[in-house]
């Protein structure tokens, strides 16, 4: 990789007036290439959905025929629903803790100047730039040294740890984009710092905090490597799928995976549509205000 260089490039040749065929071809090339890229990206998800309808019984590796049995009986295979419930619990608890701790750090890092701030930034960055296997091994060494019993709580502790940094990064972006004068205005209007925070700062931060919590939950719910190191005999959904991969995964695991996939898709697409409707409403309002002025 070279250092970015921006220098105007002189080209003596005269540019043709109409867009040449080659340029129109390259213009079509990117959408076509991207369509293929999306096929590559989505193929495994499509397979996961398809195989939730497979009549494959316990070894769901080869297509055997269409059935709805797995969907009628999603808890039909041992441990599928137990591990799913475990993952939900770990996800919710670790999201709650990590979002709280991370949001406080994000506010402090953007809005306050204090000694050790640079060091704190490094401390936040390091867990994100350490491979999961190292994080897992390090925590396991600690738990072994302390002779802690591995299980639900060690998994929650581990998930909070790796999620804090992601929450900080996500919320920090939101705090940075906030106008500090709003808080000043609150202070000028005799709000105590506590009131200013809850009445002004916090409501403005909510979208960022919600996004961070969603990220934390999905990272926790999907984590396998760190969980595998710190769970002992406690089983989360990804761990269950991994462990049963050798023997063959019950199609019920695909049912759960598909349900999660569809639920997440609905939430995210819904958010996009709501945002689009809001933009349109805003345009209409702004248009209504601006139009008479330009007319006059």
């Amino acid at each position: 990789m070279t250092r970015p260089v921006t220098r105007p490039v002189a080209r003596p040749a005269i540019r043709p007036v109409t867009a040449p065929l080659s340029r129109r071809l390259t213009g079509a090339l990117i959408p076509v290439y991207c369509a293929l890229a999306f096929v590559f990206l989505l193929a495994p998800s499509v397979y996961t959905v398809l195989y939730s309808f497979n009549d494959g019984g316990r070894r769901n590796l080869v297509w055997q025929g269409f059935t709805l049995d797995n969907w009628r009986n999603p808890c039909g295979a041992p441990q599928v629903c137990e591990s799913f419930a475990n993952s939900l619990q770990v996800g919710l608890l670790s999201t709650l803790f990590a979002t709280t701790l991370g949001t406080l750090i994000a506010i402090a890092l953007v809005r306050y100047r204090f000694r050790g701030r640079a060091l704190a930034n490094v401390l936040i960055f390091l867990p994100m730039s350490t491979p999961e296997v190292v994080l897992g091994a390090a925590l396991l060494s600690q738990f072994l040294t302390l002779q802690l019993q591995l299980g639900f709580w060690t998994v929650v502790l581990a998930h909070v740890m790796f999620n804090i940094s992601f929450v900080v990064v996500a919320v920090k972006a939101r705090v940075q984009s906030m106008d500090p004068r709003l808080e000043e205005a609150a202070a000028d209007l005799y709000a105590s710092p506590w009131q200013a925070f809850w009445k002004v700062t916090f409501p403005l931060l909510v979208p960022g905090i919600v996004a961070a919590a969603a990220l934390a939950f999905s990272l926790s719910f999907d984590d396998f490597i760190i969980t595998n190191f710190n769970s002992g005999s406690f089983t989360t959904f990804p761990k269950f799928v991994y462990v049963s991969a050798a023997r063959g995964i019950p199609a019920q695991a695909n049912v759960i995976g598909t349900a999660m996939f569809v639920a997440a898709l609905v939430v995210v697409i819904g958010a996009q549509v709501v945002a689009a409707l809001r933009r349109r409403a805003l345009r209409m309002v702004v248009g209504g205000i601006v139009a008479p002025k330009t007319g006059a």
Binding site: R11, I30, F40, L42, P127, V241, A245, V268
Partner: protein
């Protein structure tokens, strides 16, 4: 340059900032910093004389590193090689997608939002389930292998599962969103007038891309490659589900096996430390080379 934010920050007492930082920071010290030292300590342990398998005592046995490296350097090198291939693959898939969404679809927020949903959609399927879906897609009697046989790309007895190719495909797939999103963010911020200026100065589309767009998207490329390379180097789910036991093993598998099957904690810990240090060094060199230290 003093911004309004810094003015406010300067006026506020640092003590409150420290107070906000404290809980999260202490958590990271307890469950990240100290565990890393526990890992370092464990890497130097020696077996208890006459003790059982898995019984070790504190020591300063630096020899552990030499022994571990002498035995497992191929897996370590392979991890970096696979991670590099996956990073290149994710860049090849992710950059055009980011370009399509950010540049070609500029000014159409709903379309951009929907395409971004497609980019992150793979995350909505559990990572382990996706890896298993690759096993189904690349299976010996699957469509992909049959098509490749028909095209004589693959010899009649050639297969894709249990090969390095399958491992790298799965790794690549897993990290495309990590690559595409930061690149999208930098391309989105790019001022379209700069690209127009390139055209006005008689630069062809390719020259404009190479001298204007690409350099300005480098911060995104650097974050994307880091977000791909670091976790890919430590990953072992792809390698253990899609590879074979002889020539696709990655270092994460070795660490996992040493910890859990063989209870050889010092070797596992020393390999983790080596992985962590090697990645830190590589990332440091890369970031310095690309001149993007401010990203950290």
């Amino acid at each position: 340059m003093t911004t309004a934010a810094e003015d406010v920050a300067a006026r506020r007492a640092g003590a409150a900032g420290v107070g906000l930082m404290l809980p999260g920071t202490l958590y990271l010290v307890a469950f990240f910093v100290i565990p890393v030292f526990a890992l370092l300590a464990t890497s130097l342990y020696v077996p208890v004389p006459g003790g059982d398998v898995g019984q070790f005592m504190p020591a300063l046995q630096w020899q552990n590193y030499a022994t571990a490296l002498a035995e497992f350097w191929p897996q370590l090198l392979r991890s970096f090689w696979f991670a590099l291939l996956a990073t290149a693959g994710a860049l090849a898939v992710g950059y055009p997608i980011a370009y399509l969404v950010a540049v070609r679809c500029r000014g159409r927020p709903l379309l951009q939002g929907m395409l971004l949903v497609l980019v992150v959609a793979p995350f909505f399927t559990s990572f382990v389930l996706r890896t298993i879906a690759w096993k189904q897609i690349l299976a010996d009697d699957g469509y992909v292998v049959q098509a490749l046989h028909w095209l004589h790309v693959l010899p009649p007895d050639g297969r894709l599962t249990a090969t390095s190719f399958a491992v790298v495909v799965s790794l690549t797939h897993n990290f495309v969103p990590f690559m595409a999103l930061p690149i999208y963010a930098s391309l989105e911020r790019l001022d379209p007038r700069l690209v127009e200026a390139g055209g006005d100065l008689y630069a062809g589309p390719w020259t404009t891309f190479r001298t204007v767009t690409l350099p300005l998207s480098m911060p995104g490329v650097v974050s994307g490659t880091l977000l791909t390379f670091i976790p890919a180097a430590g990953d072992y789910v792809s390698a253990s589900l899609l590879g074979n036991s002889t020539n696709t093993a990655m270092i994460g598998q070795v660490i996992d096996t040493r910890f859990f099957r063989l209870l050889d904690y010092p070797t596992a810990a020393s390999l983790s430390v080596v992985l962590m240090v090697a990645i830190a060094v590589l990332v440091g060199l890369y970031v310095r080379r690309t001149g993007t230290e401010d990203l950290l």
